[in-house]
């Protein structure tokens, strides 16, 4: 037809500035590495740090001299930072970043654990346990946000789920009734969010915040008026049993943690995988992503934009409600006022840190869970690090992770924008 073919759009690549993200992280890691090697190394007692496999202090263990380990891992952090700064191994820059952070944490642990022991099984178990609601909450967020509805109400959904689980679980005397009610509790908040934001086009962030306050208020009120006076009848839900899978449960470290666990943990792990594949490989997933990125395009090929958004927000409510069940049916035996204590917001952070993907959100939730577990562990071994600082640790990790490490996260293009037919 014509000799002229227009090549790719006008993207004249700018010459890369010297201080790329990688280089800046490199410098940060070098500083951390020096800090670790010098400070942790000099503070660490010259004793063995034992990382035992089981909870038995005398059992099989990986052990290393605390001082040596602190210096060694500090130097490794420094090396990872150096490689990033030098711009070597560019394809592995993310792996280097992770390696740098992990070695820094290990150096810190060598200092802290020297002369004592840390159980890997207990650490992993605690991490998973603390991450469990975060995983479910973040997955709920993934469902909503990928279809274009911002869900800031995860905290409220947690609270409703926890409350409904405790109340109905106690009344029915069945943990399963509690679990289902928790899901329904989450759905109730989700339904209000969906109707107000999809049907009535109210600002989604504002609705989310209001719903959190609403959930806090109503569960708090009912707790004081109903549960507190007569806890016996209203606030003693049965607990979820841990099920043991013979054989698999005998795998060292991992077995007792994953295969001798509650159904809720399995649901969470399975959901991560299912939602990952469903989002990327199924018709539902393709349409969900289309609706979150370019709803008008989806509408013009006959996809019901609002319907799909309703569906996804409600599904998210189910998942977040199950996350709420963790608090009353797994972690503690009763509901207390505001017992979720901001976990919903950390789940939101995990969602963003995980770049709106199920696998990423799972990883982020584990990271935050580990930070919490570490804080508990350190206070248990009477660490010289002040207690207040330790309880700050999970939140500090969240801020650093979300603000510093992720860089610019590309949210779904139509996230938070109501769809109005023109």
């Amino acid at each position: 037809m014509s000799t002229a073919t227009v090549e790719a759009p006008a993207e004249v690549a700018a010459p890369e500035p010297f201080w790329t993200r990688q280089r800046r992280f490199g410098v940060a890691l070098i500083l951390l590495g020096v800090l670790a090697a010098v400070l942790f190394g000099s503070l660490a007692p010259d004793k063995d740090a034992r990382f035992t496999l089981t909870e038995d202090a005398q059992g099989a263990a990986l052990s290393i001299n605390g001082q040596f380990g602190a210096v060694l891992f500090g130097v490794l952090t420094l090396v990872a930072g150096g490689l990033l700064l030098a711009g070597l191994l560019k394809r592995w820059s993310n792996a280097l970043l992770v390696a740098g952070i992990v070695t820094f944490v290990l150096s810190f642990l060598c200092w802290q654990v020297a002369g004592q022991f840390m159980s890997l099984q207990d650490t992993l178990g605690g991490t998973l346990d603390l991450a469990l609601p975060l995983i479910l909450g973040a997955l709920a967020g993934v469902l909503g946000e990928r279809s274009g509805v911002v869900n800031v109400a995860i905290e409220g959904q947690f609270l409703m789920g926890a409350f409904a689980g405790a109340l109905i679980g106690t009344l029915a005397g069945s943990v399963w009734a509690g679990l289902i009610s928790a899901a329904i509790g989450g759905v109730i908040i989700a339904a209000i969010l969906a109707v107000l934001s999809i049907r009535y086009l109210v600002d989604q962030t504002v609705v989310g915040i209001v719903l959190n306050l609403f959930a806090l208020g109503i569960t708090g009120f009912l707790y004081e008026r109903l549960m507190q006076p007569d806890a016996q009848h209203y606030n003693t839900p049965p607990q979820m049993p841990a099920w043991r899978i013979p054989g698999l449960a005998d795998i060292p470290v991992l077995g007792p943690v994953v295969f001798d666990a509650t159904l809720l943990l399995w649901i969470a792990l399975i959901l991560v995988v299912v939602i990952h594949f469903a989002l990327n490989r199924t018709r539902w997933g393709l349409r969900t992503r289309a609706v979150g990125e370019h709803p008008t395009a989806a509408d013009t090929v006959g996809i019901r934009v609002r319907g799909l958004r309703y569906l996804n927000v409600l599904l998210g409510g189910v998942v977040a409600g199950l996350g709420g069940a963790y608090f009353t049916l797994v972690a503690t035996g009763s509901f207390t006022k505001n017992m979720t204590a901001g976990a919903g917001f950390i789940a939101l952070a995990a969602l963003i840190f995980g770049r709106y993907t199920p696998i990423g959100a799972f990883g982020a939730a584990l990271f935050f869970g580990f930070a919490q577990k570490l804080a508990f562990y350190l206070s248990a071994i009477n660490s010289p690090v002040p207690n207040q600082f330790l309880s700050m640790l999970p939140y500090l990790a969240t801020i650093i992770a979300v603000a510093g490490l992720v860089g610019r996260v590309r949210a779904p293009a139509a996230d938070g924008l109501p769809y109005v037919k023109s």
Binding site: M1, S2, A4, T5, V6, E7, A8, P9, A10, E11, V12, A13, A14, A278, R281, T282, R283, W284, G285, L286, R287, R289, A290, E293, H294, T296, A297, A298, D299, T300, V301, G302, I303, R304, A413, K421
Partner: protein, 532 residues
């Protein structure tokens, strides 16, 4: 529920002659279609018949009601009155799904493609082939194969695995067409398809349209460009203010078509005397600017605009024109180079200072950057002067003076509004633009910059706006016009700079043959393709 619940098409009639191509000709009739939005009658009893295998051009100005009509045909809107008849069978389209099922597809002016999806994903969306399962496991191999098949059958090359956001607009448009064709449509609505294309890409599109009609497809071609209509249409329906005002054959002259479209005789030529260029007013040297994503958009531009001349910048949208103008206006950071106005460096100065030093600016996105829609005409006319004599000072506005100014400007610039107190948002695009131009020309100017001065403006107002720009030039102002409409640049400019990928490829005279300018716009200089 395979194929997304789209009911299988009923194919009752298969004429022997065309069956080897496997196409069913589709005859479409719109009978008395009426659509109201509040008091506004967007479509007023419109009757149109599209015969099988023809290119039917729907000609009309912006806001004449063409897109509203087509959105009803495609099921995005429902008519208040009237019916849509496909092959003598009345149809009701509640959603695009129904329209597609009846064999009608549409390529929208703003592409309906998800940027982060691949071509195959975009084409499959809404009509996905699945291997079953509760959520519908996607059959991605089959999706790819379908794309390649359709692409081959109709001679529209697309790469199924490319990400749409990486494709140039011409290729994105092919994806849109393939998307419609994979849905087995027999009638294709193309809404202003050439607005974003280079002249060469336009040629290619017209060729594609011809080959599609040869295969028995019908095409409804919506446009306001007369040349293209004459080049391709079998039949022309002209719409003005929501009504069909006439039909025409392609041999009708451009002037007649324009008169039909506008409702009175208009002059398509810009009437101007030869320029008398004076001193150099604006001088750009080695200007480098980045776009929002930090990618180099203007890559070392040297340019000079002299007093009393119009310098036109031609180029396909997105080649750095926007960023260039924004940098001159102090709206975007200058990475390197100089911007001199009569020798003073403007780089790094505030936009307010730049405006006050005698620069008039018509931004390309009128509704975002040109006017405050909720403000009245009178208020919009003094947006740049509200804190200056005589309109006000630091503490108060002089409402009488503002009012008087508005009355004067409304008369002088022929701004059609009920009163100066009407919110600007209620005016037509052309009248909004006149407000912007009236405001910017109310200061003593050394330099006047107009970006896309007539985008979304009716033909009648275009004539007026062009006249004003030439008038400003004749008073000795240096004028810089940026437009993606080649006709406009050629008509207005005394010299034309062609911009491609952030650089000025050449500066040519407006008498240069169009093909040559078109090639330059595609980055081809002197017969040698520029390879990067």
């Amino acid at each position: 529920m395979n194929r997304a619940g789209v009911a299988p098409r009923r194919r009752t009639y298969r004429p022997p002659g065309i069956s080897d191509v496997g196409e069913i000709p589709l005859k479409l009739e719109l009978r008395g279609i009426t659509k109201r939005f509040g008091d506004l009658v967007a479509n007023d009893h419109i009757d149109i018949t599209v015969e099988p295998g023809e290119v039917h051009a729907l000609l009309g100005e912006n806001g004449a009601g063409k897109s509203t009509l087509m959105n009803q045909l495609y099921g995005l809107l429902q008519p208040d009155q009237g019916e849509i008849v496909v092959n003598d069978e009345p149809k009701v389209f509640r959603s695009p799904r129904d329209a597609i099922a009846a064999g009608i597809g549409m390529v929208h002016q703003h592409f309906m493609l998800v940027p982060v999806f691949t071509v195959a994903e975009n084409i499959a969306l809404g009509a996905e082939e699945t291997r079953g399962g509760p959520l519908g496991w996607l059959d991605r191999r089959r999706a790819r194969r379908d794309v390649l098949e359709t692409s081959k059958r109709f001679g529209l090359p697309v790469d199924p695995d490319a990400l749409v956001e990486d494709l140039p607009v011409g290729a994105q448009q092919r994806v849109e067409i393939v998307k419609a064709l994979t849905r087995d449509v027999d009638l294709l609505i193309l809404d202003e398809p050439t607005a974003v294309l280079t002249p060469q890409e336009t040629e290619e599109l017209l060729a594609v349209m011809r080959s599609l009609t040869e295969m028995g497809k019908s095409i409804v071609f919506i446009t306001h460009k007369l040349k293209e209509v004459k080049a391709i249409a079998d039949r022309i329906t002209v719409i003005r203010r929501g009504q069909v005002v006439g039909t025409a054959r392609p041999d009708t002259s451009e002037d007649e078509l324009a008169a039909l479209m506008v409702g009175r005789a208009v002059s398509l030529e810009v009437d101007k005397r030869p320029a008398e260029p004076g001193r150099s007013v604006l001088r750009l040297a080695g200007l480098v600017v980045d776009d929002d994503r930090g990618i180099r958009a203007v890559d070392g531009v040297d340019l000079e605009v002299r007093a009393g001349e119009v310098l036109g910048i031609a180029g396909v949208q997105g080649n750095g024109q926007t960023e260039l103008v924004e940098a001159v206006m102090g709206l975007r950071e200058v990475r390197a180079g100089r911007i001199e106005l009569d020798g003073d460096d403007l780089a790094g100065q505030s936009t307010k200072r730049i405006l006050r030093s005698g620069v008039g600016y018509v931004p390309e996105d009128r509704s975002h950057d040109g006017v405050v829609k909720e403000f009245t005409v009178a208020e919009n006319l003094i947006l740049d002067m509200y804190d200056r004599d005589p309109f006000g000072n630091r503490f108060r506005l002089n409402l009488d003076k503002i009012d008087g100014n508005a009355k004067e400007r409304v008369a002088q610039f022929d701004i059609r509004c009920q009163s100066p107190e009407t919110p600007v948002g209620t005016l037509s695009g052309g009248n909004q633009q006149k407000v912007v131009i009236a405001r910017e020309m109310s200061r003593p100017l050394r330099l006047f910059i107009a970006s896309q001065p007539t985008r979304g403006v009716d033909v009648g107002s275009i004539e007026f706006i062009h006249g004003q720009i030439v008038h400003e030039r004749d008073q000795g102002t240096a004028v810089l016009v940026v437009s993606s409409e080649l006709d406009e640049v050629v008509g207005l400019a005394d010299r034309i700079a062609v911009m491609y990928r952030g650089r000025i490829l050449a500066i040519v005279s407006p008498d240069t043959p169009r093909e040559e300018i078109g090639l330059l716009m595609a980055g081809i200089t002197g017969g040698n393709e520029e390879k990067k």
